[in-house]
């Protein structure tokens, strides 16, 4: 393989899309439109259409928020951590994972706004001078969330963009259609000079180093939305590491879910290879074991604490009305990934894809169980509603719309921008 082959192969992926691409795009747009309709309906008729009932006043939207923020972590893990450890296999998948991070943050960040009773006043979350001298409450984890997510989004966009810069210049110099002015503008006049590469290397390493603690802080802060309350099932000191581990786990699963169709859709089989998936499969097994330990510790802490409310909440979780969801979640997250211990299964795309989908389902359910079942079993037995909370069609539509938005953004990205870091692949090619 030559340097020129790499350029041609990867830029070929940006060629005219086929019918499958447009069909997928149309389906995603239709689902997104449904989600927008659901949100418009909620704005018109109020948050009551979301099916909230005391004491369950946080439900699907917060579940989605935590889920999507969790998905962001694989980008940082795969791209930044593996970069810092000089793991060569990252090059095939780093770009896609960085893009996934950005789009997952964008999608996740919508949910606190959707969850607001009056979403048009979301800007009240921002600390700005006003005539009544009111400031936001910096002691509230909701404000911590705002700062954490905006910071993470900004840093992730910079990380993605800096990595893209040399490849945008290549696209500018090779592609001769309507996209060229876009590449010219976005590549900022990059010429590949020694000076530029010197500072590029320095910045990319620094951003990778910044992104790792930032990612850990973001999901820790998301976990503190729960842990700083006194609700049994939420008020736990292990929540931060537990959420971070879950985030990495779900992020890797989503990465596999996206990469398997992407490589065949864009003809990138030579660059995203079996060993990439094998490594991701191994990562999934390791994180599944960490999650199994975390689940065990959750229940152990509840039992060992001697706190009756904690014990009752966890007992209700595995035997009460949410038990089917709890057991499904446990099976998806702790048992199913173990089949990837077998190399034969780990390297079989169909099996790996199925496991990744089940982990995605399991991780969404995990967030749902944490959010809803804890609220459904708080300190007041009168609140232990016998009526099972059911998400409404509005919540389902908005949730489906969020998935459509995420996949749509990803699909557009991989057709507009080089989906693999060409310059990093070229770095590994020996020129004779």
């Amino acid at each position: 393989m030559t340097l020129s082959d790499t350029t041609d192969d990867i830029l070929r992926a940006l060629g005219r899309p086929g019918a499958a691409y447009f069909t997928t795009l149309a389906c995603l747009l239709a689902v997104l439109a449904l989600g927008i309709f659901g949100f418009a309906y909620q704005v018109r008729f109020g948050l009551g259409v979301a099916g909230y009932q005391p004491p369950i006043l946080w439900a699907v939207y917060i579940t989605n928020f935590v889920f999507w923020i969790g998905i962001t972590h694989s980008g940082t893990l795969i791209s930044a951590v593996l970069f810092l450890f000089r793991a060569r296999w990252r090059t095939g998948v780093a770009r896609a994972s960085e893009a996934m991070t950005v789009f997952a943050i964008m999608t996740g960040a919508l949910f606190p706004i959707i969850h607001l009773g009056r979403p048009w006043l979301f800007y009240w979350l921002l600390p700005f001078p006003n005539e009544r001298h009111l400031w936001v409450n910096f002691r509230s984890p909701i404000i911590w969330d705002l700062f954490a997510i905006l910071t993470y989004l900004t840093v992730s966009i910079i990380f993605l963009y800096v990595g893209l810069l040399p490849d945008l210049a290549t696209a500018r110099d090779k592609i001769r259609d309507w996209r060229r002015p876009i590449y010219r503008f976005l590549s900022l006049g990059w010429s590949g000079s020694e000076r530029q590469w010197w500072h590029y290397n320095s910045l990319y390493g620094l951003l990778a180093a910044l992104a790792v603690p930032l990612a850990i802080s973001v999901h820790s802060i998301v976990s503190w939305d729960f842990a700083t309350t006194l609700i049994p099932g939420w008020h736990s000191t292990i929540f931060a590491p537990y959420f971070v581990a879950g985030a990495i786990f779900s992020g890797v699963a989503m990465m596999i879910t996206l990469l398997i169709p992407m490589r065949s859709l864009l003809g990138l089989e030579s660059y995203i290879r079996v060993h990439h998936f094998e490594n991701l499969g191994k990562l999934l097994v390791v994180m599944s074991l960490v999650m199994s330990y975390s689940y065990g510790m959750e229940f152990f802490v509840a039992w060992y604490s001697g706190n009756l409310f904690e014990q009752a909440t966890y007992w209700a979780r595995v035997t009460g009305q949410y038990a089917p969801l709890t057991w499904t979640m446990l099976a998806c997250n702790t048992l199913v990934p173990l089949i990837l211990i077998s190399k034969r299964i780990r390297t079989h795309f169909g099996a790996l894809f199925s496991v990744a989908i089940l982990v995605n389902v399991g991780m969404w359910l995990e967030r749902y169980v944490i959010v809803v079942s804890s609220l459904a079993h708080d300190f007041n037995p009168a609140n232990w509603t016998s009526t099972l909370y059911q998400p409404t069609w509005v919540e389902a539509a908005i949730t489906a719309g969020s998935f459509a938005l995420f996949f749509l953004l990803f699909l557009l990205f991989v057709k507009l921008f080089p989906p693999i870091a060409m310059n990093e692949i070229k770095e590994r090619i020996e020129v004779t």
Binding site: L3, S4, T7, P127, H133, L134, W135, V136, N137, F138, R139, S140, I143, W144, F147, A148, L150, T151, T154, V155, I158, F159, V162, P166, A169, T170, D173, K174, R184, F185, L188, G189, W190, S191, G192, S193, E194, R195, Q196, W197, W198, H199, Y200, N201, S202, L203, L206, L207, L210, P213, L214, S217, I221, M422, N423, E424, K426, E427, V431, T432
Partner: protein, 168 residues
């Protein structure tokens, strides 16, 4: 004394690095390299001080961290409303906001530093010196005095150049 430029085009970074080293050792002029990738041989061909991007990042982080602590502390003291029994000026939120803004400041400042140090953006006159240098070729652009042109040409050719373009 009038100057001229010569551009050597190479197939590999190692050849380009050899040309840079030769021009530098013989003090024939200033050689700039262009490459489609961060080539280790080229970047190691001459001694360099650490990138100033690191300094930008450090300063941005310090400024962001200070703002992240000072601003919430200011708002807490100007609006000392007790919420949930917590003291108006409590330490943990300051750490969290301070940390986040430190990261934000560091990343933004590092990016700005990168643009400044790399002399970007060049939206108007910034077209690449040769389109091949973002694809599969490596270039060494030597700026030298006209009298040394022949010597530079020898250096470029001895390093295995596949083409030399006279910039005049």
């Amino acid at each position: 004394m009038s100057k001229t430029t010569l551009l050597g085009v190479y197939r590999s970074g190692t050849q380009a690095a050899a040309a840079i080293t030769a021009v530098r050792e013989k003090q024939l002029g200033v050689a700039d390299a262009y490459s489609p990738t961060a080539d280790a041989a080229i970047l190691g061909a001459r001694p360099r001080s650490a990138s100033a991007v690191r300094l930008f990042t450090l300063l941005g982080g310090i400024v962001g961290g200070v703002i992240g602590v000072a601003f919430p502390a200011y708002t807490m003291t100007t609006w000392p409303l007790i919420v949930g029994g917590k003291p108006p000026l409590s330490f943990p939120p300051l750490v969290i906001i301070g940390f986040e803004l430190m990261m934000l400041g560091a990343a933004l400042s590092g990016f700005i530093g990168f643009l400044v140090m790399s002399r970007l953006p060049r939206l108007q006159g910034g077209s690449p010196i040769d389109r091949r240098f973002t694809d599969d070729m490596f270039g060494v652009l030597v700026t030298c005095e006209i009298e040394k042109r022949a010597e530079v040409l020898v250096c470029l050719e001895q390093s295995g150049t596949s083409e030399v373009i006279d910039g005049g």
